[in-house]
C-alpha cells in the first residue's frame, strides 16, 4: 500500500472533489494512497446527513408536492452549488460534473426541470457499467429533447443524436490512438434510424412527477441497418451495446478521463501507450467505470510530477474550492416561506465561462486555456474580491469571517503568507513572489511602509487583501 503525503492528499481532494481544509486532507493522507481513493470512490458509505438536512431546509422542491416551476433556472443551480460546497461525498459531485460535461446538455434548449432530472440520472449511474450509463442517458428526457430524439421518426430520421453519440459520447471522430476515422456519414444515418420512435411521457401522481421512457412502435424503424459493416435489425439498445464495446470507445473515454482528472494528453507514443493501458482495464472489466477510475486515481501517472497543478482550474473548482479550502461559508439561503437566497457562486462561475446546466454546446466546455480570456480573468479576480470583502455574515451569500482568517494568520509576514499559500493550495510559489506579498502586508496607505501586526484591524484589511492577491496569482488558477 503506497503512502500518501499532505501534498498528494490535497491533490486528490482537488481532483476527485473540489478541494479540502487541513482536517479533511490529513484524514485522507492517513489512509494511504489506495485507502484514500477507495474512501473517495465508496462515497455511498460516507455520512452526508448534514448536507441532506441543509438541502431540505433550503429548497422547496425537495418536499412534495413538487411543481416544475420550482425547478427553475436559478434554483437548480443554487441546489447543485450547495451540494458542491457542503457534500462530504465529494467524488459523487465531481464525477457527476464529469458526466454532465461529457453528455453536455443545456438549459438553453432543455427545460430546467428536465436538466435537474438528468442530473439525478447522471449521479445514479456515474460509476456503473458504461453501457448502462449511456443507455440511461440516451433514454433520459433531457437528451431526447436536446438531440431531437422526440422528433426522430421512421422514414425521416433526425441525425443529431446518431452523430453526437459517436462523435462526442463514445468514440470521437478519429480513434485517439491510431487517428483513423471511427465512422462514416452512412453510419450516422443508419444509427439515426435505430433510435427512431424513442419517447418519454410524464406522470404526475401524489404530488410527484416522474418520467417514463417508451418506444413508439409505429414510429420506430424496425428494418435492417448496416453499421460498421454489420447488417442487422439494430435497435437503439443494440447500438449502445455495440458502440460501448468498441476499442475506440475505451480509448476515447480514457482520454477524456485523463484530460479532466489527470493531465492534458498529447499525441506522443508514451501517452498513447498510457491510453491503451487503461483502455484495456475498461475492456477487461465489463466496462465498469468504477474499476477504471479506481485504476486511474491510484496510478503513478496520477501522482506523477506531470500531474500536479497541470490543469487550469475550472471556474466551478475555483469558486467552490475557495470556500472549502479557506474555511469560508456559502449560505445558500432558503426559498421556503419566501426567504432570501444567494446564487453568487453560480453567477460568478457563469461569468467565468462555466454555467452549470448550461454548457456552450453539446461538446461541453473548453478546458484549460479555453477558460482564459481577459474578460474571464477579470471575473476570477473580482470573484476573489467579492468573497473576501463581504462582511455581512447574516444574509445568504459567501464570506469568510475575521476569526477564521485570524486563525490562519501568524505574527510574521513570512509565516502568514506561507500559511495562506498552504490553505489555498498548497501552492508552490517561490521566495521572490512570497516576498512581494510580504511587502504588500507591510505597505500602508499611500505606499508608506508600516510595521505588520496581526491585530483585528490588520486582519480585516490587509489579510483580506492578501487573500485577494493570492487568489490573483497565476499559481492559484491551476489545479
Amino acid at each position: 500500500m503506497a503512502s500518501l503525503d499532505y501534498d498528494g492528499a490535497a491533490h486528490l481532494m482537488r481532483r476527485m472533489g473540489f478541494g479540502g481544509n487541513p482536517d479533511e486532507i490529513d484524514d485522507l493522507a492517513s489512509r494511504g494512497r489506495e485507502g484514500a481513493v477507495d474512501y473517495m470512490i465508496g462515497y455511498n458509505q460516507i455520512d452526508n446527513s448534514a448536507m441532506d438536512s441543509l438541502l431540505l431546509q433550503s429548497f422547496d422542491f425537495l418536499t412534495p408536492p413538487v411543481d416544475n416551476n420550482q425547478l427553475n433556472n436559478g434554483e437548480i443551480r443554487r441546489w447543485w452549488f450547495t451540494r458542491l460546497v457542503h457534500s462530504k461525498r465529494q467524488f459523487e459531485e465531481k464525477m457527476t460534473l464529469f458526466w454532465h460535461n461529457h453528455f453536455a446538455t443545456s438549459s438553453s434548449k432543455v427545460q430546467d426541470f428536465l436538466m435537474y432530472n438528468q442530473n439525478l440520472t447522471l449521479r445514479q449511474y456515474a460509476l456503473d457499467r458504461f453501457d448502462t450509463l449511456l443507455l440511461k442517458v440516451a433514454q433520459d428526457p433531457a437528451m431526447l429533447v436536446w438531440l431531437d430524439g422526440t422528433t426522430n421518426v421512421l422514414g425521416a430520421s433526425n441525425e443529431n443524436f446518431g452523430r453526437e453519440l459517436q462523435e462526442l459520447f463514445t468514440m470521437g471522430i478519429n480513434d485517439v490512438v491510431t487517428g483513423q476515422p471511427n465512422y462514416t456519414e452512412q453510419d450516422v444515418k443508419e444509427i439515426a434510424r435505430a433510435f427512431t420512435g424513442w419517447r418519454f411521457n410524464t406522470v404526475r401522481q401524489g404530488g410527484t412527477i416522474t418520467y417514463n421512457f417508451f418506444i413508439q412502435a409505429n414510429q420506430h424503424d424496425n428494418t435492417s441497418k448496416t453499421i460498421y459493416g454489420q447488417t442487422l435489425n439494430f435497435s437503439g439498445e443494440d447500438v449502445i451495446t455495440l458502440v460501448s464495446a468498441r476499442q475506440a470507445t475505451a480509448r476515447y473515454l480514457v482520454w477524456k478521463l485523463f484530460n479532466f482528472f489527470v493531465y492534458p494528453m498529447t499525441t506522443s507514443s508514451a501517452d498513447k501507450a498510457t491510453i491503451d493501458k487503461f483502455a484495456t482495464i475498461y475492456l477487461n472489466n465489463n466496462h465498469s467505470i468504477k474499476t477504471l477510475v479506481r485504476a486511474i486515481f491510484t496510478s503513478d501517472e496520477f501522482f506523477s510530477d506531470r500531474a500536479f497543478f497541470s490543469l487550469v482550474k475550472q471556474p466551478v473548482e475555483l469558486v467552490v474550492g475557495a470556500i472549502r479550502m479557506l474555511g469560508g461559508v456559502y449560505n445558500p439561503g432558503s426559498n421556503i416561506n419566501g426567504g432570501r437566497t444567494s446564487n453568487t457562486l453560480s453567477t460568478s462561475a457563469r461569468n467565468q465561462g462555466q454555467d452549470l446546466f448550461g454548457p456552450p454546446d453539446v461538446a461541453g466546455w473548453d478546458f484549460n486555456l479555453g477558460w482564459v480570456s481577459t474578460a474571464t480573468m477579470l471575473e476570477r479576480f473580482n470573484f476573489a474580491n467579492t468573497y473576501v470583502n463581504n462582511r455581512n455574515t447574516t444574509n445568504p451569500g459567501i464570506f469568510v469571517t475575521n476569526d477564521q482568517l485570524k486563525s490562519i494568520t501568524k505574527g510574521s509576514t513570512k509565516k502568514t503568507v506561507k500559511r495562506f499559500f498552504t490553505r489555498l493550495g498548497p501552492l508552490d510559489v517561490g521566495g521572490d513572489t512570497r516576498k512581494m506579498l510580504q511587502t504588500y502586508l507591510e505597505t500602508g496607505d499611500n505606499g508608506q511602509p508600516v510595521t505588520y501586526v496581526n491585530d483585528d484591524a490588520t486582519v480585516d484589511k490587509k489579510i483580506r487583501g492578501l487573500v485577494h492577491q493570492v487568489m490573483c496569482l497565476p499559481e492559484f488558477q491551476s489545479n
Binding site: D5, Y6, D7, S108, L147, D148, T151, N152, V153, G155, A156, S157, N158, E159, N160, R163, I173, E185, Y263, P264, T266, D305, R306, F308, F309, S310, V312, N351, G353, P360, D361, V372, S373, T374, A375, T376, M377, L378, F381, N382, N385, V388, N389, D428, G430, T433, M436, Y440, G444, D445, G447, K461, G465, H468, Q469, C472, P474, E475, Q477, S478
Partner: protein
C-alpha cells in the same frame, strides 16, 4: 515534503500551445487619435453565426425546380418573399430572395452597400460543428489545427502597435483570433470590465494593483499555462481602466433596442453591435472587431411557433436570428454613417456550414454544406451576387450542395483588398479575388 516546480509553470504538454509575448497594446496608453489618420482606417468586423446557418432559407433560390420538393414545409414560394410591410425581398432581377426577416439587409443590398457571395464552402466539407468551425477559424482544411487566420494577420500587422487594435466581444476567444504573439482582449460588458478592490479601504487600492502587477509580470516559460494566464490577467487589469475612460466619450443618435422593444436575441445582438460602435468611434486604433451570435443549429423547429405547429415561416427561431443580424448590422452601419466612418468599415458574416437541402420531419434540417455569406459596407461593391448558387439537382452522395467558392478566397479578398495584408502568407497559399472589393 517540498514539491518541485510543477507542470503549470513548466512547458505545458497541451497540444494547443500559444507562446505569448507581452503585448504592446496597453503600454503607453491608448493613442487617442494622435498620429492616426482617420481617413485611412480600415475597420473589419466579423460576425460569426454559430451553429450552421440555413443558407437555403436565407438567400432563397426560388426558381430552382427542386427547392419546393426538398423544402415542402420550410420552403418559401416566390409570392412569400416579402417583408412584414409587404416590400419585395427579391434581389433585383436575380432569381433569389432574402428571408423576409432581413428587411434592413435588403435595403443595404438595394443601396449597393451589401453583397452576397453564394455557395461558399470548402472541399471535403466536415459536418462536425467543432471541426468545421476550427477549419473556418484557422483556414486550415486539414484538420483545423493551428492559429487563427485573423490571429496570424494580427501577429503580422498589429503587433507593436500601441493601443487597443483588436477586440473580441464575448467571453471566450474564438479560434479565428488565436494568435502566437498578440493578446486580443475579450470583453463581455463594459461595466464588468474593471479590476475591483475593497471599497472600504481605497487607500490600499494602489498597493493591491502594484502587488498584482508584480506577481503577474514574472517570467514564465514560453508555452506554459502560467504565461498565458498572467498575460491575459495583466492585459485585462491594465486595459480595463483605460477602456472605461475611452468609451465614456461615445455619443450617438442611433437607437439600439432595449427591453420590451424586441425579442431577447434581437436586443442582445443589437447591443453587441453597439459595443462595437462604442469601441470603434472612441478608440481610433481599434480596427479588428469580432462578434458572435449563436443558435443556428436548427435540427428542429426552424420556423414557426408552437401555436402554428412550427409552420409559419415569418416567425420562429431562424427568422428571429436573421432579424437580429439584419437589424444589428443596419443600426451599426447607421452609427458609422453618423460618425463619418461609413467609408472605413467592412463587415462579413460566416457560419461553419449550411444545412441539408432536404428538410427533416422535425421542421428543421440536418447539417449541410455550401451556404451564402454576406459582406457589408460602403467599400463593398454591393447590390450584387458573387459566386454561384449550387444546383439542387446536382447534390453530392450525402444529399448536400456542392460548394462553388472556397471560403479562403473570401478571406484572401479581405486580407489583400481591405486589410493591406499579404493573403498568401496569412493563408499559406494563393486564393482568388472574389471581386466584392474591386
Amino acid at each position: 515534503m517540498p514539491v518541485n516546480r510543477r507542470q503549470f509553470i513548466k512547458r505545458s504538454a497541451s497540444a494547443v500551445s500559444l507562446s505569448l509575448v507581452l503585448p504592446k497594446f496597453w503600454m503607453g496608453g491608448l493613442a487617442r487619435g494622435q498620429g492616426i489618420d482617420a481617413t485611412s482606417r480600415k475597420i473589419f468586423v466579423v460576425i460569426q453565426m454559430a451553429g450552421g446557418n440555413d443558407g437555403l432559407n436565407t438567400v432563397v433560390p426560388f426558381t430552382d425546380s427542386r427547392y419546393a420538393a426538398l423544402r415542402p414545409i420550410l420552403g418559401f414560394k416566390e409570392s412569400e418573399l416579402k417583408d412584414a410591410q409587404g416590400n419585395s425581398m427579391i434581389l433585383g432581377s436575380a432569381p433569389f430572395g432574402l428571408n423576409p426577416a432581413m428587411t434592413e439587409m435588403k435595403s443595404l443590398y438595394d443601396s449597393g452597400k451589401a453583397a452576397i457571395i453564394l455557395g461558399v464552402g470548402y472541399p471535403n466539407a466536415n459536418l462536425s460543428h467543432f471541426l468545421s468551425t476550427d477549419i473556418w477559424g484557422t483556414a486550415n482544411t486539414n484538420g483545423g489545427l493551428g492559429s487563427g487566420w485573423l490571429g496570424r494577420y494580427a501577429d503580422q500587422k498589429l503587433l507593436g502597435q500601441s493601443g487597443l487594435s483588436a477586440v473580441n466581444i464575448g467571453g471566450s476567444l474564438p479560434k479565428a483570433l488565436f494568435a502566437n504573439k498578440v493578446v486580443i482582449p475579450s470583453i463581455t460588458s463594459f461595466n464588468a470590465y474593471t479590476y475591483q478592490t475593497d471599497e472600504r479601504f481605497r487607500g490600499d487600492r494602489n498597493n493591491q494593483i502594484n502587488t498584482f502587477h508584480a506577481t503577474n509580470t514574472r517570467d514564465f516559460p514560453v508555452d506554459s499555462f502560467a504565461k498565458a494566464i498572467s498575460e491575459a490577467g495583466v492585459d485585462a487589469a491594465d486595459g480595463a481602466a483605460q477602456l472605461q475612460t475611452a468609451i465614456a466619450a461615445y455619443t450617438s443618435t442611433v437607437h439600439y433596442p432595449v427591453t420590451g422593444e424586441a425579442t431577447a436575441q434581437v436586443i442582445s445582438f443589437a447591443n453587441t453591435m453597439k459595443m462595437v460602435a462604442q469601441i470603434v468611434t472612441t478608440i481610433p486604433e481599434a480596427n479588428l472587431l469580432y462578434v458572435q451570435i449563436g443558435g443556428f443549429d436548427h435540427h428542429s423547429q426552424e420556423i414557426g411557433t408552437a401555436a402554428d405547429n412550427y409552420t409559419n415561416k415569418t416567425l420562429g427561431q431562424h427568422a428571429n436570428l436573421l432579424k437580429a443580424v439584419s437589424l444589428g448590422v443596419k443600426l451599426f452601419y447607421d452609427d458609422m454613417v453618423e460618425h463619418g466612418l461609413a467609408d472605413n468599415v467592412v463587415l462579413m458574416t460566416w457560419s461553419e456550414f449550411g444545412r441539408r437541402p432536404n428538410e427533416n420531419a422535425s421542421h428543421g434540417c440536418d447539417h449541410g454544406t455550401g451556404a451564402p455569406l454576406l459582406v457589408v459596407g460602403n467599400p463593398v461593391q454591393g447590390g450584387k451576387l458573387y459566386g454561384e448558387q449550387p444546383s439542387l439537382s446536382d447534390l453530392d452522395s450525402a444529399g448536400n450542395m456542392k460548394f462553388k467558392v472556397d471560403f479562403r478566397s473570401v478571406y484572401a479578398t479581405i486580407l489583400d483588398k481591405w486589410l493591406g495584408a499579404d493573403s498568401q502568407s496569412v493563408l499559406g497559399a494563393s486564393f482568388g479575388n472574389v471581386g466584392f472589393l474591386g
